[in-house]
């Protein structure tokens, strides 16, 4: 054994010499190691002896001192044990209380996807909406007004349309001309045209199943605090396509009149200090937020930047946040919520309400947003002899070509978007020089629209909204339509909108402060 090995195990040797004969042998032969071992052993023993003569008994006294406070500490221990268990025991009660006193919890728990949730349930939970019972029946459908809700932001009318024969591919086709409010001049004296037509701010399908189509129509806020809305559903449309995903509609008459009482609810008003969004197109300054039961309206002012080089000088932009997160729930802007300029001159956008009646400071996040560019329209003449053409547009390229099939000559317009964040808000029209010819579109070219200025209704124009484009992410869209042999020689292709998706690297957090609304 080497000295190094022996000196490293002196404690073990000291405790049990018999177990280490090699070490014993080495110590007997090595004076240096033996001296080291003696030092270690003597000092260890000196410490040990000192410790052995220490005053004992402190621990015994400790035990005797316990009974005085034992019960209390024991109770405390029991209390602590229950305290540790309390989250588990109280969790069901807390969840029940959450759902009982905080109706929004239902939506968080049930579905984080705002486009899928039923806004009716929220307003019913909060006791805001008024149940309606108006109903009328035709040979084909039963039309019901089921609920109405109103505040200083908007007026919502919920309806059901049920197919009498139980078809589940029934799709309402209610446009500006197909539903009217007969007393619109009373409800909206500043907006109504006087002929019963009222601008619908949005119409949305909520559900469509078992032959029942549920939806809501959104109007501006009513003039008075309590009004009766008198609605007349003029026509609907039935999908007669062979495949439910295709679209081929037959318009059917309804002529159903229904009325319901509406009570306008107040809104909570918030200021939005320091909420400024600067971009290439200018600066958006958010100003106020009006939180009502039907919707949340956010007003803003916009200062325009210098015209972009790829834009005509007269282009204008509209700002639409694409995503907003409120209290942990991400809300895409509903596609049917239009950006409107109110009488106060403020531009605004609308979100689904999630925090009505909170009336407390809150923060929300804005994510990506859309910019509408107008005045960027494409207007190209297509002569009879033109069989194909290409046009560059700010968002890509438009390609048209003529084709002939068994039904006759067709014109196909394909829009290929070159940039992933830019797309046309398609509402193509063809003009033959004397009348405007609307065009319906279908990505799969599943149906055609005959170009005939006399037969096609101007208001049946089908267009893809910006939100649809964002959700679809389809960057090749095809419009196909038949050409009327009796058309004039020159067609004009018009596309007036252009939308840009601005992707934000980081969400913008906006602090909202409540204040009393006068």
């Amino acid at each position: 054994m080497m000295c190094r090995d022996c000196s490293a195990m002196l404690l073990r040797y000291m405790q049990n010499p018999e177990a280490y004969p090699d070490c014993r042998r080495h110590l007997s032969q090595c004076a240096s190691c033996r001296e080291a071992y003696d030092d270690v052993r003597r000092q260890h023993r000196a410490f040990y002896q000192e410790g052995r003569f220490a005053k004992k008994g402190a621990a015994y006294q400790l035990k005797e001192s316990i009974p005085e406070g034992f019960n209390r500490t024991n109770a405390q221990k029991t209390y602590l044990k229950w305290l540790k268990l309390s989250p588990i025991l109280l969790l069901p009660l807390l969840v029940a209380a959450l759902f009982l006193f905080y109706p929004q919890a239902y939506y968080w728990a049930a579905d984080y996807t705002p486009l899928d949730y039923d806004p009716l349930e929220r307003m019913q939970a909060e006791g805001i909406i008024v149940d309606a019972s108006a109903e009328a029946e035709t040979e084909e459908v039963i039309v019901r007004l089921t609920e109405v809700a109103a505040d200083e932001n908007q007026t919502h009318v919920y309806f059901e349309m049920e197919s009498v024969n139980g078809e589940d591919i029934y799709e309402p086709f209610i446009y500006f001309s197909a539903v009217e409010v007969e007393n619109s001049s009373e409800l909206w004296p500043d907006h109504a045209s006087g002929d019963g037509m009222m601008n619908i701010e949005g119409m949305e399908t909520i559900s469509q199943e078992n032959g029942v189509h549920r939806g809501r129509i959104m109007y501006p806020p009513i003039n008075g605090e309590k009004e009766t809305v008198e609605m007349r559903f003029i026509s609907a449309a039935k999908n007669v396509a062979d495949h439910p995903e295709d679209r081929a509609v037959d318009e059917i008459p309804l002529d159903v009149s229904l009325e319901e009482e509406i009570i306008k609810q107040p809104v909570d008003v918030y200021t939005l200090p320091d909420a400024e969004i600067s971009g290439e197109a200018g600066t958006i300054t958010l100003e106020e937020m009006y939180v009502g039961p039907t919707s949340t309206r956010i007003t803003y002012e916009r200062s325009r930047a210098e015209a972009r080089s790829d834009m005509p000088q007269n282009h204008m932009e509209r700002f639409i946040p694409y995503e907003a997160e409120v209290k942990g729930t991400t809300f895409s802007l509903l596609e049917t919520y239009q950006v409107l300029s109110r009488d106060d001159g403020k531009e605004a956008f609308y979100l689904e309400s999630t925090m009505y009646h909170d009336n407390e400071p809150l923060s929300f996040q804005l994510g990506n947003y859309l910019l509408y560019h107008r005045g960027t329209h494409l207007e190209e003449e297509i002569a009879e002899e033109d069989t194909e053409g290409f046009y560059d547009v700010p968002y890509g390229r438009v390609h048209f070509y003529k084709d002939t099939n068994e039904t006759g000559e067709t014109l196909v317009v394909e829009v290929e978007e070159a940039e992933r964040n830019r797309f046309g808000n398609f509402q193509f029209q063809l003009q033959d020089g004397t009348s405007s010819l609307p065009v319906q579109h279908d990505d799969q070219s599943a149906y055609f629209t005959t170009i005939d200025g006399e037969e096609i209704d101007q208001e049946s124009i089908y267009s893809l909204s910006a939100m649809e484009r964002v959700n679809m992410l389809n960057h090749l869209t095809r419009f196909t339509f038949e050409l009327n042999p009796s058309r004039s020689d020159t067609l004009t292709l018009i596309n007036s909108h252009y939308v840009e998706l601005i992707e934000r690297e980081e969400e913008m957090t906006i602090e909202a402060e409540p204040y009393t609304h006068n």
């Binding site: 270690v40 003597r42 000192e50 220490a54 402190a58 034992f70």
Partner: protein
Amino acid sequence: MSQTLDGSMKPLAEWAEVQDDRIAAAAVAYGVEETLDELLKTWMHQAFQADLSSDLKLWDLLFTLFEQENIHPEEGERRKLNVLEPEAKRAVAAYSYAELPLPFTAQLIQSGETETETRIIQSLQYIRTCFPED
């Protein structure tokens, strides 16, 4: 050495009673034998609050309390411990004074058994070098 705690203070006191000789000896090493009563109450309270349930944790808390007293006795053999680093002092106090087994001492200073043995040996030799006349 093992002692199961059942959530009350009594088993803690019983554990300390079993360890009485060792605790008293360790207290001598740190010069805290006069205040050991109070220290043990503090120890028991803290051990109870922290719900300590192993010998190692109980001893570690005890040595920590002793070390926090920051007493450096100048009489007796224990005065020689003052030349050591705190960790080495804890190892020698545990092994030589409190007679805690070497493996347990190694855990107390969070070191390997071989390294701990070497450290104690070197510490004892260093003390002999510092105090050759004794």
